[in-house]
C-alpha cells in the first residue's frame, strides 16, 4: 500500500514538473523577444497581440503579423489555422486579439533570416471589428471658415495680379 502511494506521488510530481517545463513562456511585450532573442532562440513561446494588416497566403502556410501596440512580429502559420482570424487591424478597424503558441526563431533559416514564430496553435482571445472614428465638431467649423478665407484670399490675389500687370 505504501509502495503504491509512493509511486503515485512520484508520478504526480513528474507529471506536474513536466507540465510546468513544457508550458511556453508568455510574451505580451515583443521587445522582450528582440532583446532576449539569443536566449530564447528555438524555444516554445506563447504571445498575445492584435492581428494587423492582412493575412498573406503562401499556399499551405500563411504570414500573419501581430502587434503588441508598438512592435509587430511575423507569424508563419498553417493557412487553415489562419482562417480563424477574421479581423485585421487597420485604420477604422481593430484586429482580433490572438494568442499564438509556437517556436521562436531569432534568424529563421527557412525564411531568409527573419525573426519569426512558427505557430502550432492559435486562439482568438478577443474578436475585433470596425471602430467608429469620432469627428470633432469644432474641426468641421474650422475647416469651413478656413476654406472660405482661402477662397477670398485667392480671389483677392487674382484681382491684385490683374491690376498690377495692367
Amino acid at each position: 500500500m505504501v509502495k503504491t502511494f509512493k509511486t503515485m506521488i512520484i508520478i504526480c510530481i513528474l507529471v506536474f514538473s513536466y507540465s510546468t517545463t513544457c508550458k511556453a513562456k508568455e510574451y505580451n511585450n515583443f521587445n522582450d523577444l528582440i532583446e532576449n532573442s539569443k536566449k530564447i532562440d528555438n524555444s516554445n513561446i506563447s504571445l498575445k497581440g492584435e492581428a494587423i494588416g492582412e493575412c498573406m497566403n503562401r499556399g499551405k502556410y500563411s504570414w500573419v503579423n501581430i502587434s503588441d501596440g508598438s512592435t509587430a512580429m511575423g507569424i508563419w502559420i498553417d493557412s487553415t489555422l489562419a482562417k480563424n482570424i477574421k479581423n485585421y487591424g487597420q485604420y477604422g478597424y481593430k484586429g482580433d486579439i490572438v494568442q499564438i503558441n509556437g517556436t521562436f526563431n531569432r534568424a529563421c533559416s527557412e525564411h531568409g533570416g527573419d525573426m519569426d514564430i512558427h505557430a502550432s496553435s492559435v486562439k482568438i482571445i478577443e474578436t475585433g471589428g470596425s471602430i467608429t472614428m469620432p469627428i470633432n465638431n469644432s474641426k468641421k467649423v474650422i475647416a469651413l471658415i478656413l476654406t472660405f478665407t482661402t477662397m477670398i484670399l485667392s480671389i483677392s490675389y487674382y484681382k491684385f495680379t490683374k491690376s498690377t500687370s495692367k
Binding site: N31, I34, E35, S37, K38, I52, G53, E54, C55, M56, N57, R58, S62, W63, N65, S67, G69, S70, T71, A72, G74, W76, G89, Q90, Y91, G92, Y93, R106, A107, S109, H111, G112, G113, D114, M115, D116, M133, P134, I135, N136, K139, K140, I142, A143, L146, T147, T149, T150, L153, S154, S156, Y157, F160, T161, T164
Partner: protein, 511 residues
Amino acid sequence: MKKTIKNYDDIRIINFYVGYVVIGTACLMIIPILTSLLFREWSALLDFIISISIALSIGLLLMFTGRSKIDKVKVQWKHGLIIASSSWIMLTLLCALPYELSGNTGSFLDACFDVMSGFTTTGVVLTQNLDHLSLGLNMWRHIITFVGGQGMVVLALSFMVNHTLGAYKMYVGEGKDVELVPNVKNTARIIWKISVVYLIVGTLMLWIDGMFIGLQPVSAFFHALFIFMSAWSTGGFAPMSQNILYYHSLSYELLTMIFFIIGSLNFALHYAVWQGNKKEIIKNIETQSFFITALVISFFTALKLTNSGVYSNGISVFRKGVYNVLSAHTTTGFGNLYARQFATEWGDFPVIMLIIAMLIGGSACSTAGGFKGLRVGIVFKSIIAEISKLLNSDRKIKAFKFHHIKEIVLEDSMVKSAYLIITCYILLFFVGTALGTYYGYPVLSSAFEAASITGNVGLSIGVTTPSMPSIMKIYYIIAMYLGRLEFISVFVLIGATFGGIKKLWLRLLKQ
C-alpha cells in the same frame, strides 16, 4: 532710407518665391484629400482640408507681399539660396499640420521631425500607431518623401511659367547643381519626367509582386505605390511599422533593392542613359565609386556575419546583411530587421561598416544623401594626383581627369569644395554622436544614429523613439536639414538672419 527700402525688397522677393513653393507643395494635399474621400476617412479628410487651407493662405499672403517687386528686382545668389532654405523650413511647419491634427504624433515637434525626415528622404519615424494610420495620412507621408527626393523647389520650378530668371539660383540652393539641358525649368521638368516614368513602371511591378505574395489587389496597389515612392526617393518610409519585414518576401526585397539603387544614381546619369549613352554607367566616376565601396563593405559585413554565426546560410546573409548595407549605402533606410537587432545581434564590426556606408551615401544630384560618391571619387583622385606629383619630377606637369558625363579636369577648387563639404558632414556626425552619448546612449549606438541622420539614411539602432530627449529631436531635425541641402544655402540663411538682426540693432542704437 533708400537702403532700408532696398532691404525690404530683398525680403519681398524672397517672400514671393517662398509663397510660390509653399502653394505648389500645398496643392499636393489634394491627393490625400481625394484618397480620404474615396475611402471615407472623414476625420483625416477634415485634417487635410484645414491644413491645405492654412498652407494656401500663408502662401498667398507671402506672394502678395512680393508681387509688386517681382519684375523690378533681379534674383541674386543670396536670394536663391535663402528662398530654397527658408521654403524648406516653412513647408516643414505647414506639412506637419495633418500629422498633428491626426493625433498620431506625441507633439508638434514629433510631427515636424517626421516631415523633415520625409522631405530630406531620411525615413526615421516618430509617428505612432503606424499600423492603424489612415490611408490619407499614409499617402501624405509618402508624397512628402517622393517630392522631397526630387526637391520642392524643383517641383515648383517645373510649373513656373513667368519669373524664371533666378530659377537656377534656387535650384542650386536645394542641393542640386546639374543642368541636364541649358534651361533650368526644363531640367526640373526632365527630373520629374524621369521620376514619374519610373513611378509607373515600379508601382506596376511591385503591385503584381504584392498580389503574388498574398496581398489583396487594392491593398497591394497602395503598398506598391508607397514602397516605390519611398524606394525611388531613397526615403525609407513604409506603410507598416515593420517596414520591409512586414512582407516576409525575397522578391519584394529584391525589387525594392533594384529601385533604391536606381534612385540613388545621379539624374544626369539617368538622362545620359535615356539619351542612349549606356556606357556612361560603367565610365562614370560615381557608379565606379559606388560599386567599389558597396562591394567592399558588403563583403566584409557578410564575412563577419557568417563567421560570427549570426546567420546560418547564404540567403540569410544576403537578405539581412547585403540588403541592409545597400539600403544604408544608398541612404534609403529600408530595413528588414528590428532596429535593436543591429545592437543585440550584429556586433560592433558590421555596425561600423554600416556607419561608413551611411556616411558615404549615394550620388550627387540624386535623391540620396551622404558625402556623395562624386566627392569620394574626387578625394580619391586628388590623393592619387598628389602622390603622383611627389613621385614625378617638378618639370613634368600632368593633368588629372575623371569622367562624370564628360571628361573633367581635376581642379583644386573642386577638391577644396569636396573636402569642405565632407568636413562639414563629419563635424555634424561627431556633434550628433557626442550629443547621443551626453544623453546616456552607448557610443556605437549614438554614432550609428548620428550617421543615419547626417547621411539622410533612416536606419535606426533604437535611439530614435518618441521618448528621446527633445534636444536630440531638434538637433536631428537640423542635421537632416543641413545634410540634405548640403550646408551652403542654410549657412547663407543663417548669415542673412544674423546680418539682419545686427543691422536692426545698430539702427535702434543710433536712434
